[in-house]
């Protein structure tokens, strides 16, 4: 009797605990099933903690023959704090589902999952990565927009023409994780602070150590780490064992 009451209490507590973070699953009546789930747009966006992403995520369900499937149920899920509007939907006439996403309060990378079921009931999953910038990375993003982006971003906009093509040695775009992830924070700090000439690298990189403060350079590096693709994995602190 007491055992049963305890189990009931525990399950009540667990469900109460869960309902705080997870969105209630929506039951959908799918009229069709697909064989593949593909991302059309909206992945790898750089947003801010707690804020909606600029672009919605659009996924498409395809059948075995590669054509779009209408009426298949697609469910979205993600870490605590991520909000999807809607969290589940049936594919429209072009086989697509569009959802608006608001990221959680933790800065960093979010792995979101879209899923649907195939004819045999097996789950097909698609992973979509997004980045949320916290305070420090936001400072870095703003400094990047003021000082760095003109040379380090190959894209031009009407307001901002890229200078990258004019440079004899091409700078690394900050998203270029393959190269930048191999460099330690200390190396990046040194290059930003002292410039290329002092470190036998391209002299086109000026020294910023007399213009930017130490905390600003740290913020820039946190931004570079946040947007790296493939993602940057910090070595973390290593302590001596007991």
């Amino acid at each position: 009797m007491i055992n049963r009451a305890l189990i009931a209490l525990a399950s009540l507590l667990i469900t109460a605990g869960c309902s705080r973070t997870a969105q209630k699953p929506v039951a959908l009546k799918a009229t069709a099933t697909g064989a593949a789930l593909v991302e059309l747009s909206g992945g790898k966006q750089i947003g801010y903690t707690g804020m909606p992403l600029d672009q919605p995520v659009v996924v498409q369900v395809n059948g075995a023959n590669g054509s779009a499937v209408t009426g298949a149920a697609v469910y979205f899920s993600g870490p605590a704090g991520v909000l999807f509007t809607p969290a589940a939907a049936l594919t429209d006439s072009s086989g697509q589902v569009t959802t608006n996403i608001s990221l959680g309060s933790q800065a960093g990378r979010y792995r979101l999952t879209a899923s649907t079921r195939d004819a045999s009931g097996k789950s097909i999953q698609l992973e979509i990565d997004e980045v949320a910038l916290g305070y420090q990375q936001t400072v870095g993003a703003q400094l990047n927009a003021t000082y760095c982006i003109r040379c380090h971003d190959p894209e031009s906009t009407p307001q901002r023409v890229s200078n990258m093509d004019n440079l004899a040695v091409k700078p690394h775009p900050f998203t270029e994780g393959d190269t930048l992830n191999k460099m330690s924070d200390a190396e990046l700090t040194a290059i930003i602070t002292h410039g290329g000439s002092a470190l036998a690298r391209s002299n086109l990189m000026p020294a910023w150590g007399y213009t930017l403060s130490k905390s600003e350079i740290a913020a820039l590096i946190s931004y570079i780490r946040a947007v790296a693709d493939p993602p940057y994995q910090a070595g973390g602190l290593v302590y001596a064992r007991k």
Binding site: G50, M51, Q142, L237
Partner: protein
């Protein structure tokens, strides 16, 4: 019944031994209540969980040493902070706990403030003194201060930071939207430093509106401003056809003719649109005005109104008058008075008149207005507070037309009337009011602004920063907003500078716009001959910019006046502009400077010294430095650019005096004429 009681009594208190035993037992239980309550407390559970978590980690010893059991408190009496949050949030200061998935124990993200100096609730809100999760984070009946969602967290910063802070783009944008959409024409928003948010949308005066446009256009505009210009900031009042008819009748009826009246239009039988288009381009009208191009893309700035349908809106006589002298219609406009000749005015008017949106007024058919309609229109204009923004004959600007929002971020919920479907939180209330005000009742006066969901969040963030705490905390915590000075240049040069509206784009002595460089020290920087040529025919200094200095068609006398004034008045007191004569700069120095330019400092990455070889596209081209600048300015600029122009992105290089001198020698030896190079 009595028997049972007696039995019970005897069992426990039958003899002295039993009585003593029972009393002791009761006392023991009573004494145990307090420690038991403590033991079963929620925060105690969190501390046990935390210990469990850290004991499994590599750095357990360090973490355990930092752990202090019991209720923790940050107490800052002068900031009204009594925060016990750290009782459960135990890992906030532990760098190694950055990867913990449980938000309660995770390290706080990097911010420039120390937790012990500022507390938690200062930024996050919530009930600092509470010791249960529910009471600390959510609003209760006694305490109405729920935790601020992460989305609006920059509102916390905005309580002290009244300036534009680098790390708070949403708060900054929210404040800018409030100014740009003129919210403060109706709602006063005072700030803790004694200033208030000033509108910068400059709504046009309607005193002579009938000279400018037709009643049909006024009707269609007030029905739906965005259908005329998608960038319009005027909100939609959701007026019925009858109300719009009556308001347009009154607006046109109250209008008086301009003094002196508009000149007759010099008709141009076949306007040369192509020549007008190129004059529009050469005059850099697009620096301020946007226009939709053939592909439907909006091209141009947002300082002035969008001109896509200007031909439908403005009468040709008015355009002719406006282009030749904007002051005549609106003395407070930001639009410069270009010195156009009659032919140029004709070309521009022809071009602008060709930019029509006939569909906008196609379905407007208004009968002549009756006296009754005009009177009804006047009443509507007064009820809707049109005069809060616009100057209107016979109607005074209403005082306090809408509630003051200085402390809206601390408004108690029981003072708010919520619309259906709006969650009972302050941020949801503000968001709904900004985004869809008429949902609160069709009779409410607040109009519908055209804002995206992100813009609504930004405005909400800026409003949530207007809290009681912001006003009551120690003034030393405040970082004041940067206010424009009241600087005004004097004399005949001042008059010319006012006419061409230098201050719409340039800042001098803390007053003016931010579109173009600060000219406070321009007199120290440049050579007279260069400035004369530049004013005559502005060359492109920065190849990558779309917004450029227009050609104002000055007379030689005007240029002389302006140049004399600028060279005399706009000087720095830090050094003399003639302190480094070019004769001191030798060829050998220039050679060394060239080495420094191309190798050590890599200046060619951003600047062009030689149009044949360099491609740098960020800073100004330097090929004509020797003709443009004074050597002393170049030298001091190289030593410390930010000292001469705060905020410039040119990095300070910490050069030695010799390096700076050699580089100056090299740059001063560059005397190519810029215009030829810029054309490349």
């Amino acid at each position: 019944m009595k028997n049972t009681f007696l039995q019970f009594w005897r069992f426990f208190f039958g003899d002295s031994g039993r009585a003593f035993g029972s009393a002791s037992l009761v006392l023991l239980v009573l004494l145990a209540i307090a420690p038991a309550k403590n033991y079963f407390n929620q925060w105690h559970r969190y501390q046990k969980q935390y210990l469990h978590l850290i004991r499994g980690r590599a750095d357990a010893v360090t973490l355990e040493r930092h752990f202090e059991p019991g209720i923790q408190q940050i107490w800052l009496p002068d900031q009204q902070v009594t925060d016990r949050c750290t009782t459960c949030h135990l890992g906030l200061k532990e760098p190694s706990l950055v990867d913990v998935s449980n938000v309660a124990f995770r390290k706080h993200p990097v911010i420039p403030h120390s937790l012990t100096d500022f507390g938690c609730t200062t930024c996050h809100r919530g009930q600092g003194a509470a010791t249960t999760v529910e009471e600390a984070h959510n609003a209760t009946e006694q305490w109405e201060q729920p935790i601020l969602p992460a989305k609006y967290i920059e509102a916390g910063c905005g309580q002290c930071h009244l300036e534009k802070l680098t790390g708070t783009p949403f708060l900054n944008e929210g404040r800018e939207i409030i100014a740009r959409y003129g919210c403060t024409h109706c709602h006063a928003i005072k700030r803790p430093d004694g200033t208030s948010i000033q509108p910068d949308d400059d709504p046009p005066s309607l005193l002579h509106i009938a000279d400018k446009t037709s009643r049909d256009w006024v009707f269609a505009w007030i029905k739906d401003p965005q259908s005329y210009a998608s960038t319009a900031t005027m909100p939609n009042y959701h007026l019925s056809d009858d109300d719009a008819r009556d308001i347009s009748a009154f607006i046109v009826a109250q209008s008086t003719p301009m003094q002196p009246p508009l000149a007759l239009l010099k008709p141009d039988a076949s306007p040369d649109i192509a020549a007008g288009t190129s004059l529009y381009g050469q005059s850099f009208c697009a620096s301020c005005h946007a226009m939709q191009n053939a592909a439907g893309m909006m091209v141009g700035g947002n300082v002035g109104p969008e001109l896509t349908g200007i031909g439908t809106k403005a009468k040709p006589e008015w355009l002719q008058d406006w282009v030749s002298n904007p002051d005549h219609y609106d003395p407070n406009t930001m639009m410069p008075r270009y010195r156009f000749d009659a032919k140029q005015i004709g070309l521009l008017v022809g071009f602008l008149e060709s930019k029509t949106e006939p569909d906008f007024v196609a379905n407007v058919h208004l009968d002549p207005a009756t006296l009754q309609q005009i009177e009804h229109g006047q009443r509507l204009v007064m009820e809707n507070g049109c005069a809060s923004c616009h100057e209107i004959n016979g109607i005074k600007k209403p005082e306090n037309f809408a509630p003051e929002l200085s402390r809206i971020g601390s408004k108690p919920l029981n003072q708010l009337a919520f619309a259906a479907d709006v969650k009972h939180t302050l941020h949801d209330y503000i968001g709904a009011k900004v985004g869809n005000p008429r949902a609160f009742g069709p009779s409410l006066k607040m109009p519908q602004f055209k804002l995206t969901p992100t813009q609504i969040d930004e405005v909400t963030t800026a409003l949530l920063a207007q809290t009681d705490r912001a006003f009551t905390q120690p003034p030393t915590m405040r970082i004041a907003s940067v206010q424009q000075t009241k600087y005004k240049p004097a004399g005949s040069a001042g008059k010319i500078m006012h006419e061409v509206r230098c201050f719409s784009c340039h800042t001098i002595n803390g007053y003016g716009g931010d579109m173009a460089p600060d000219l406070t020290y321009e007199g120290t920087a440049v050579q007279r001959e260069w400035l004369v040529q530049f004013l005559k025919n502005p060359e492109t200094l920065r190849p990558a910019l779309i917004r450029r200095m227009p050609k104002f068609n000055f007379t030689d006398a005007e240029i002389n006046t302006l140049t004399d004034y600028m060279l005399t008045v706009y000087q720095t007191s830090d050094f003399d502009r003639d302190s480094i004569p070019t004769s001191d700069l030798t060829l050998a120095m220039a050679d060394q400077g060239k080495q420094l330019f191309y190798s050590k400092f890599g200046c060619q990455g951003c600047h062009i010294a030689d149009f044949a070889t360099d491609k740098g596209y960020i800073g100004p081209a330097l090929a004509g430095t020797g003709k443009r600048f004074n050597a002393a300015w170049v030298y001091h600029w190289l030593k410390d650019p930010q000292a001469l122009r705060p905020g410039t992105i040119e990095p300070k290089q910490h050069m030695t005096d010799e390096e700076a001198r050699n580089l100056t020698a090299f740059l001063m030896s560059l005397k190519s004429t810029g215009a030829k190079g810029a054309a490349k």
